[in-house]
Each structure stands twice: as structure tokens, then as C-alpha cells.
């Protein structure tokens, strides 16, 4: 289960960082938390409340950031915190929240029910299909929005749909990874993968692998350490990021290449100027 969640968070994270929405995981999980509480208090299913509120937050963020004056990060900061605060306020007033409050905040993969399990599998399949079939449209919209529009891509619908898919992934990940820790699971694998490759497909592949492996290791370790699953998974993702960052630095200093039929490596700066100079010297 943690492998599935780590994988789908890793996949969506690549699109999130390239769209410049790194903070959205953090923000939407808070909004979903507020919604879950409201849903619970008014007697609705946990998922119904979370979905309604986080979709509403996604829509408001999308509408605010569409008008260029306010950047998405500012819109996310305001809207999602307000919805989170509303949920907490309701808890403190009514004192009627039945679901484990702490497991939502910090994550407890062992507390998930059979119903949660089915929902996680379904969301993983559906959102995987979304990214598979709309990959080209998402990439073009995020890379060059205006040209994508001219080319006939309905960028507004694509972006709105993207934010709804994200909200859904975040909701299903919340109970096992935790509201406060989710941002790291979404962004961590993606930025680690981005440091390793300049190729979009490779970045996606690596991000899914890093997310899945780190989540699996975190889950496994939390069993032996008797720790909360969320923070343990986050520690492994941070470790993965540290290793890739070190690797990227090492790769920059020790650059392996071949010219004149001889393969070798030596330390030097991997700057564009150097590369051009090098190509010139060794065509």
C-alpha cells in the first residue's frame, strides 16, 4: 500500500514541481483535513467532506491564480490555511471528532481500513491513467501555456482537472502519510529525480521508483522502530534526496566522458562554457 502511495505521489510530484506548485501538496492536504472534519461533524463520510472541501479549495486557487496578479503559492497559502483553520475551529467548538485526529495529522498506515484500501487502489489506477493519457497536454500547458492554447489545447480545463486529480491523490494519502508530512512525499521524489535527469520520461520513472522505495523502506522501518509511518517515510525520502544531491554534486565535479576513443574521468566544472570549449577541443 505504501509503495502504491509513494509511487503515485512521486508521479504527480513531477508535474507539480514543473507547474511551479510545490506548495500545493501541503496546502491541499490542510484543506482536505478541514473538509474531513466538517464532513465528520455533519455526519458525512470522511472522504465526502475532504473531497468537497479540497475540490473547492482547488477551484478557488485556480480561479485566483488565473488572474495573473496573484501567484499560485500566495493563493494556496491563504485559501488552504483558511479552510484548515475552519476545520480546527469546528473541532474545538464541537469537540465531536470521532476519527483518530492524530493519525490524520501525522499518518498511520496501520490505521487504514479495508474501505481505504480499495479507495487507494482505485485512485492510483485512475490518476495513473489520467497522467498517462493527458501527459502531452499537461507537458505542453506547463511548458508554454500560451502556445498550447494557440495549438488548440484547452489549457484551462486541463489545469483544473489536474488540480482535482491532485486533490484526490492527497486525500487518499492523508491518513497513511499525514497532513503535515504529505508535501515532502509529493515533492521530495520529484526533485530528487529532477537532479538526476534532464529527460522527462526518466524523471517520471525515477520519481516513481524513489517514492515507492522510500515509502516501502519507511513503512518497514516504522514497524521495527514502532514509530509513526508518516515521519519515518519522510525521513527516507529526505535521505533519498540527500543521496541524489550528493550524487549530482559529485557528477558535476567528476565528469566522465570519452574523446579520441579513450574513456576517462577527471574533475572539472561542468558549466556550459566549459562544455562548449571541451567540445571544440575534442570534436
Amino acid at each position: 500500500m505504501s509503495v502504491l502511495l509513494g509511487g503515485i505521489c512521486g508521479l504527480s510530484g513531477v508535474y507539480i514541481i514543473l507547474r511551479g506548485l510545490s506548495y500545493v501538496g501541503h496546502g491541499l492536504s490542510h484543506a482536505a483535513f478541514g473538509g474531513a472534519i466538517v464532513g465528520n461533524i455533519v455526519g458525512l463520510n470522511y472522504y465526502v467532506g475532504a473531497i468537497v472541501w479540497s475540490y473547492l479549495a482547488s477551484f478557488v486557487i485556480y480561479e485566483i491564480s488565473k488572474r495573473n496578479k496573484i501567484k499560485p503559492d500566495a493563493a494556496i497559502g491563504l485559501v488552504t490555511t483558511a479552510i484548515f483553520a475552519f476545520g480546527v475551529l469546528l473541532v474545538s467548538i464541537t469537540n465531536r471528532y470521532t476519527r483518530n485526529f492524530e493519525s490524520l495529522l501525522f499518518g498511520n498506515i496501520l490505521a487504514i481500513t479495508e474501505q481505504d484500501l480499495y479507495i487507494i487502489v482505485s485512485v492510483t489506477i485512475l490518476s495513473g491513467a489520467f497522467f498517462f493519457f493527458l501527459h502531452k497536454r499537461l507537458v505542453f500547458s506547463f511548458f508554454d501555456n500560451e502556445s498550447a492554447k494557440i495549438s488548440g489545447i484547452k489549457t484551462s480545463y486541463i489545469e483544473l482537472l489536474f488540480s482535482f486529480v491532485l486533490a484526490t491523490i492527497i486525500i487518499v494519502s492523508m491518513s497513511s502519510i499525514g497532513v503535515t508530512l504529505l508535501a515532502s512525499v509529493i515533492v521530495g521524489p520529484a526533485i530528487s529525480a529532477r537532479m538526476l535527469s534532464n529527460n522527462f520520461s526518466s524523471v517520471i520513472f525515477l520519481s516513481i521508483i524513489i517514492g515507492s522505495v522510500a515509502s516501502f523502506c519507511g513503512m518497514y522501518a516504522s514497524f521495527f522502530l514502532d514509530s509513526s509511518s508518516g515521519p519515518t517515510i519522510v525521513m527516507f525520502i529526505t535521505l533519498a534526496f540527500g543521496i541524489t544531491a550528493l550524487y549530482a554534486v559529485f557528477k558535476k565535479i567528476y565528469h566522465s566522458h570519452s574523446h579520441g576513443g579513450v574513456s576517462h574521468s577527471h574533475p572539472h566544472l561542468h558549466t556550459d562554457e566549459h562544455r562548449h570549449e571541451h567540445q571544440h577541443k575534442h570534436p
Partner: protein
């Protein structure tokens, strides 16, 4: 179905904040196949005018029409290729030359995430025309300014557009890169493509274009460069005189 005869702008106005026009009362008629350079200072509304022509913005007032008398449908809209200012591109985005050019193709709209063989061959041919053969797998950041500009030109050309609109395609380029771009555009125009570009380069681009529009919020003058690029028009365009349009 025929192609459009001319692009007609009638009283077109647009702005970003209420009552503050960036483009105001523009009347233009650009016949198919014409090579047009729009000159004007920074902030004169050239980019906005080009985006209006592309359909990115809807004019506040006036109409933009691609007039086509022998077209079957009244909803005729030509295929438009747009080349943005390369300063607006995120060069860290993990895409290769092949992926960028593929974005411009109709074929790109398929729902499968990979680029098919037919499109790969088309990209190869386009790169050959642009003098970039063998660059398919390169990351866009690993190219020179002139090469990057040609890649974006390739993205617009791969769909064989009726109208090619370019926002400052030669800004920041060296002599050779600028001449390469200009030669490609001249050839396209000679083959019947309508080319509309904005430029700061009066000496090397506007002066050699068959048709020039001096623009600063309004159309100040248009015509052949030898008739238009005169001191009084340039002073008006660059805001260096007391000229004020009533």
C-alpha cells in the same frame, strides 16, 4: 476549402487594467503571403498585438477576422504558428529538442504519451530545414540562443501554418544566427506563408522586410520600409517628439 485572403483588424483595442489601453483603435489589413515587421519601443504593445492576432487575447473592442471568401465554413480560422520571445521560456524544463518541436504538430494531440514514428520523421525533416540535424535528443538548455530560437521556429513550422507570428525572433542573436533566421523567414514568405514579426532591429530586419508597421499603442505608419522608416515616423514611434494622436 480555400485559405484566407487577408487578416483584417478593425478598431481593435485591448488592455490589462480597466480603461488603460495597451493597444487602441488598431486598423490593419494584411494580405495572405505578406512579410510584415512591426517595429516599436519596449512596452509599445507589439507583443499584445501579436497575441491578439493569434487569438490568445480577445479584443475589448473591434474585430479580428481572417477573411476568406471562398471558404465553406463561416467559422474558418487559419492554422497559426506562434514563436514566443525565448526569454519567457523555462530552460530548466526537462524536454528535448524533439519533444519541443513535437508540441507544434497536430499529431501531438493523440492521447498516447509517446511521439510516434511518423512525427519523429517529420521532426527530422524540420530540423534539416533549420540546419539542426542530429539535435533531436539534446536538452533545450544545451543549445545556443540562435539554435534555441530555431527550435521554437521549428515547433511553429511543423504544422505547416498559414500564418507565422514571431515575437522578437532575432533579439539577442549574433549576426550569423540573425541572418539564418531571416533567410528562413524570407523563404517561407516567398513560398506563400504569411509572416508577421515584431522587432527592435530596424537596420537589419525591418529595413529589409517588404512591409513595415510602426507601432506604439496605435498604428503610426505602414508601408514599404523606404517610405515608412523615416525620421518623423521613427520619432513618433519611439516617443521622441511632441506628436500626439487625437
Amino acid at each position: 476549402m480555400g485559405s484566407f485572403e487577408y487578416l483584417k483588424l478593425t478598431g481593435v483595442s485591448y488592455g490589462f487594467t480597466y480603461h488603460d489601453f495597451v493597444v487602441e483603435g488598431v486598423n490593419l489589413s494584411i494580405p495572405r503571403g505578406r512579410f510584415v515587421s512591426i517595429v516599436g519601443p519596449s512596452g509599445s504593445g507589439k507583443t499584445t498585438l501579436l497575441k491578439l492576432m493569434c487569438g490568445i487575447y480577445e479584443p475589448w473592442n473591434g474585430d479580428i477576422e481572417y477573411i476568406c471568401n471562398d471558404c465553406d465554413s463561416i467559422f474558418y480560422y487559419p492554422s497559426v504558428g506562434y514563436v514566443p520571445q525565448i526569454e519567457t521560456i523555462d530552460w530548466n524544463f526537462p524536454v528535448s529538442v524533439q519533444e519541443v518541436i513535437a508540441m507544434g504538430s497536430w499529431n501531438y494531440k493523440s492521447y498516447l504519451p509517446w511521439i510516434d514514428k511518423k512525427l519523429k520523421n517529420q521532426i527530422k525533416d524540420t530540423l534539416k530545414i533549420l540546419g539542426l540535424s542530429g539535435y533531436e535528443k539534446r536538452h533545450i538548455r544545451a543549445l545556443s540562443g540562435g539554435e534555441q530560437q530555431r527550435v521554437f521556429l521549428g515547433r511553429a513550422l511543423i504544422r505547416n501554418p498559414d500564418v507565422l507570428i514571431l515575437d522578437e525572433p532575432t533579439t539577442g542573436l549574433d549576426y550569423v544566427s540573425r541572418e539564418k533566421i531571416f533567410d528562413i523567414l524570407k523563404t517561407l514568405s516567398n513560398n506563400g506563408m504569411t509572416v508577421i514579426l515584431s522587432t527592435h532591429d530596424i537596420t537589419h530586419i525591418a529595413n529589409r522586410s517588404p512591409w513595415v508597421i510602426c507601432f506604439n499603442k496605435y498604428v503610426i505608419a505602414e508601408g514599404h520600409p523606404q517610405d515608412v522608416l523615416k525620421e518623423d515616423n521613427l520619432l513618433k514611434t519611439y516617443g521622441l517628439s511632441d506628436y500626439k494622436i487625437k
